[in-house]
């Protein structure tokens, strides 16, 4: 699918969400078990801790065809790192700089704390992000 063809009003933004095994995954699972809906163009990759997300992965996702990346931050719930909030924010900041450098809008990266019971915050954040990206259009370098 090339960038131009997927534009227009039928444009369905593809969102990649980085989630963590013990904190946000149960929250996202709970959204599903409660049959709460969010766009199916949202897909999740799970990692142990949001402080381990590499800024390069965010850029890689946009370059390969995602229109937006969401980082579900562990927040203060992280069992590994007590400064997880600062670390994840710093990674998110670096990633934003990186994608900006490559010509992508910084709004294509969004971070939010999602806890193990945050089903409603997750679905509402996804719907909101989906609308933001829809207005922004498909991810293209140098927009």
């Amino acid at each position: 699918m090339d960038g131009a063809a997927k534009g227009g009003k039928d444009f369905i933004p593809k969102i990649l969400a980085f989630s963590t095994n013990n904190i946000s995954d149960p929250g996202i699972d709970l959204a599903g078990s409660s049959h709460m809906h969010y766009p199916p163009s949202v897909v999740v990759i799970s990692v142990p801790c949001s402080s381990g997300i590499r800024p390069g992965w965010v850029l890689h996702a946009l370059e390969k065809g995602f229109d937006g990346v969401f980082i579900a931050a562990d927040g203060t719930d992280c069992a590994y790192l007590n400064d997880c909030v600062e670390r994840t924010s710093s990674i998110s900041g670096q990633a934003q700089e990186l994608i900006k450098e490559k010509g992508y809008e910084p709004q294509r990266l969004k971070m939010g704390a999602i806890c193990s019971v945050c089903s409603e915050p997750f679905t509402s954040q996804m719907k909101e992000f989906f609308e933001v990206l829809k207005k922004l259009g498909p991810a293209r370098k140098g927009n």
Partner: protein
């Protein structure tokens, strides 16, 4: 292009997945992926028959990778890792793809979207599996001691159970005395024994055990370490607290419940003659002869059920859930009342009567003993007002007589209120325990892992997990004992082989990774004249905090490598 031999199985989950995802289309798409040798669907991949089929497929086709697209890994990751193990395949060459909680169930409104998403998720699972290596779990020796938090009936029984098995127990109770709420109860159903005497029996038994140490007026304030080997700090005493450091292998949480207090004007609560079920029980337990209220014989009682429960969330403090124990408790209280005063008139105003199981017998007894049951609708609760005669007037529209307005004059109105989650703010923060949507502690799975939490080695039991009567609390306490003991008696736990790994060909020691590691797991070493980073595997927790900071991209996390994540991103982006 791939020299891998991967087997992919897509689960119908008896319709939970296949009602919304075209599993056949997913199978076809999976079969076209490079390296996939076997692609099948199954009604239940977790069934014995399908597991056996997978074992045979792995052996016959010399598979070196396994993907199952089914439910959340929280449920069956270990099930299918075991399948791999039984077939002689390294379990870490298995990938679970969540197409139920994170696909079919979340997109029941969009079958096409759900099917497309499932295809992408399965492709990513295959891409990850193509890059898996054989890994070995990290083995940690367990400490043969347990911490039990809360010394109510569940915590006391759990402590004894663990002690029986030969596990030393530290029992920590926030109040100044052990025993919890049951210690304050008189006659309990179904046996009629006093709560007090049951607790005394448990406490006296605990006194005899050399391997149980109890701390009262004590709170858990810090926890570090992980499953099998936790370090816990307990604050004991109020004004001049002392701190005790404990080293335990597992933690059983039995912190109980709080009681719901009705709002001030609710059914006239706070004015004379309107009490909660707890207060009524106290009154009954204390009265030697005929029960009296303010010195006056109680000749009639109206019980109003579901006060503060089974209501729209958002209505003041009301709870949405059914508190489960209260129908039984109220019916039982009415039997105690009639025992003490055979002339008493009792009216039960209920929405739905749930005296489940053998407690139905209690309901029959209450009717035989003269209790009158009236049913009201959620939208038409009873109305309580002061009557001219100084008593209370209760009026209700009775659904059992097709909406007849019934009025009664009573001496006492008893509000049957629910259990609510206990305020445990500090403990929640220390233990990092997840709360369910009702605010109680949450188990991993109600059927398969009912006392385990997402925090490995921390178990929950009793009414901190949700409303339970004391039999149910004790049953769950003993379940927690079994789970905690099975962990500790083995002597070791296998942990995920989550470990940072350094590519020595690329690393030119700059120290960034060591500075990012809060555990001190990284230091430098000299390899053939070059200084490189070295990871102490016994100390590394696998948090991956070091991986994004390396300027040369020379440090990776096993199981979540840069290459694996990038391959998944590419497969998902297609």
């Amino acid at each position: 292009m791939s020299d891998r031999r991967i087997g992919v199985y897509i689960c119908h989950c008896g319709g939970n997945i296949s009602d919304y995802v075209d599993v056949e289309a997913v199978r076809e798409a999976a079969g076209r992926e490079a390296g996939v040798v076997v692609a099948k669907t199954a009604m239940f991949t977790c069934s014995d028959a399908t597991q056996q089929e997978m074992v045979e497929d792995i052996r016959e086709n010399s598979l070196d990778g396994l993907v199952v697209a089914s439910c959340s890994p929280k449920l069956h990751l270990y099930t299918f890792r075991d399948v791999a193990k039984r077939a002689g395949l390294n379990p870490y060459r298995y990938t679970q793809v969540n197409v139920r909680e994170q696909c079919s169930w979340a997109h029941t409104d969009d079958k096409k979207g759900a099917t497309e998403k499932a295809v992408r998720l399965v492709r990513a699972g295959i891409a990850r599996t193509s890059l898996t290596d054989s890994l070995e779990p990290v083995i940690i020796d367990t400490v043969p001691r347990a911490l039990v938090v809360g010394a109510g009936i569940a915590g006391l029984r759990a402590a004894l159970g663990l002690s029986d098995i030969g596990i030393s127990v530290y029992l920590v109770e926030r109040e100044n005395a052990v025993g919890g709420r049951v210690a304050g109860l008189g006659s309990m159903y179904p046996h009629g024994r006093n709560g007090n005497s049951i607790i005394s029996q448990l406490v006296s038994e605990i006194g005899k055990r050399e391997n149980i140490v109890a701390y009262t007026g004590a709170e858990v304030v810090e926890k570090s370490g992980s499953v099998g080997n936790f370090n816990v700090k307990v604050r004991v005493g109020g004004d001049k607290p002392q701190f005790v450091d404990l080293n335990v292998g597992s933690i059983v949480v039995a912190t109980g419940f709080d009681t719901f207090q009705p709002g001030n004007s609710e059914y006239g609560f706070g004015t004379g003659g309107v009490v909660t079920l707890d207060q009524f029980r106290e009154l009954l337990d204390r009265s030697g002869g005929v029960p009296a209220y303010n010195g006056k014989e109680i000749k009639s009682v109206a019980y109003i059920y579901c006060v503060g429960s089974r209501r729209d969330p958002g209505v003041e403090e009301a709870k949405a859930y059914c508190s489960r124990y209260c129908c039984n408790a109220a019916v039982h209280a009415s039997l105690l009342a009639v025992e003490k005063n055979s002339r008493i008139h009792q009216y039960h105003l209920y929405r739905d009567m749930r005296t489940y199981g053998r407690y139905e017998l209690m309901f029959d007894q209450a009717r035989e003993a003269g209790s009158i049951f009236l049913r009201f609708g959620e939208d038409a609760p009873p109305v309580v007002s002061q009557s001219a005669g100084g008593g209370l007037r209760v009026s209700v529209k009775d659904l059992l007589t097709f909406g007849e307005e019934v009025e009664m004059e009573v001496d006492l109105v008893v509000l049957v209120t629910p259990m609510k989650p206990r305020q445990n703010g500090g403990l929640v923060d220390v233990l990092k325990l997840p709360l369910g949507k009702d605010g109680f502690f949450n188990e991993i799975h109600p059927k398969l892992r009912p006392v385990e939490t997402v925090v490995d080695g921390v178990f929950i039991c009793g009414s901190c997990q949700g409303p339970k009567n004391s039999s149910e609390s004790v049953a769950s306490a003993l379940a927690a004992v079994t789970q905690a003991a099975s962990l500790l008696k083995k002597g070791y736990v296998e942990l995920e082989p989550l470990m940072a790994v350094v590519d020595r060909d690329i690393c030119r020691w700059c120290g960034e990774c060591a500075r990012a590691c809060p555990y001190g797991a990284i230091s430098s070493e000299e390899i053939q004249g070059t200084e490189v980073a070295s990871v102490n595997e016994a100390v590394c927790k696998g948090c991956s905090g070091c991986t994004p900071v390396c300027p040369k991209n020379a440090i990776d996390l096993k199981g979540y490598t840069d290459a694996q994540v990038k391959a998944m991103i590419e497969a998902l982006a297609e």
